[in-house]
Subunit: 121 residues, 2 copies
Amino acid sequence: MSNQEIGFGDRCDPVPLARPALTADEAAALAAGFKAVADPTRLRLLSLIAAHAGGEVCVCDLTSGFDLSGPTISHHLKVLREAGLITGDRRGTWIYYRIVPSALATLAQVLAPAADLEVSA
Amino acid sequence: MSNQEIGFGDRCDPVPLARPALTADEAAALAAGFKAVADPTRLRLLSLIAAHAGGEVCVCDLTSGFDLSGPTISHHLKVLREAGLITGDRRGTWIYYRIVPSALATLAQVLAPAADLEVSA
DNA sequence: CGGCTGTTTCGACAGCTGTAAAGATAGGCG
DNA sequence: CGCCTATCTTTACAGCTGTCGAAACAGCCG
């Protein structure tokens, strides 16, 4: 269980937010992805993992930066994992987490069109 | 009360998700924005409003596309309004809602860097 | 085996989602 | 002018989901 279980990207439909309105099915899939990001702790976890770029970040490096207990961090990592936003590889005693760029790209590309409606300044 | 009450964009810091890790304060502000989008109904509402591009969408046009009651739609619109993602202008009996592109852009730009770590295809 | 790392299970608490009923605002008609 | 209708919002309340921590469990190394 070191790979993502599910993924809203499975629909293979990079439908933008504007122009063709989202169907209820597409909205549900995307909402699941956004829901995983809609939490300060998970957003910060994602940020810490992404900041390493190379990717491999040990969980022990993550827990030290929060005021939360170990199990709670593990829970949030599981949510991100099941959303397909990160993957965890076990290397001996430690487990290293990595970002899944395509999943993040899908979410970003959904918001981008609506953000570019008439903004310029 | 026809304008957005608050906005995570108030921080005026378009901090990307990668490189400089998010602080707890930035993460909390951004999470509030994502939380407003992390719902199938709100995502679809946002999509319907954005699809009109011109912007002005009457609430009566929105409720007809859902299996939800009026008050529920109004509640979700309020959430989006308080998140600063949309604005509502009253024109007589009807209220027309409009997208706030800059708010959507802020969210999209947060995910973009992490999505562009090594993805290319 | 003993210690370490990370996860899972279980329970409590807070917050969110949805509906019904009542309240505010604008326009039409007798 | 008074009252009604229509649109949208707010309030109050049931049901559900999500967040968090203490304790217990699983994988790895010396």
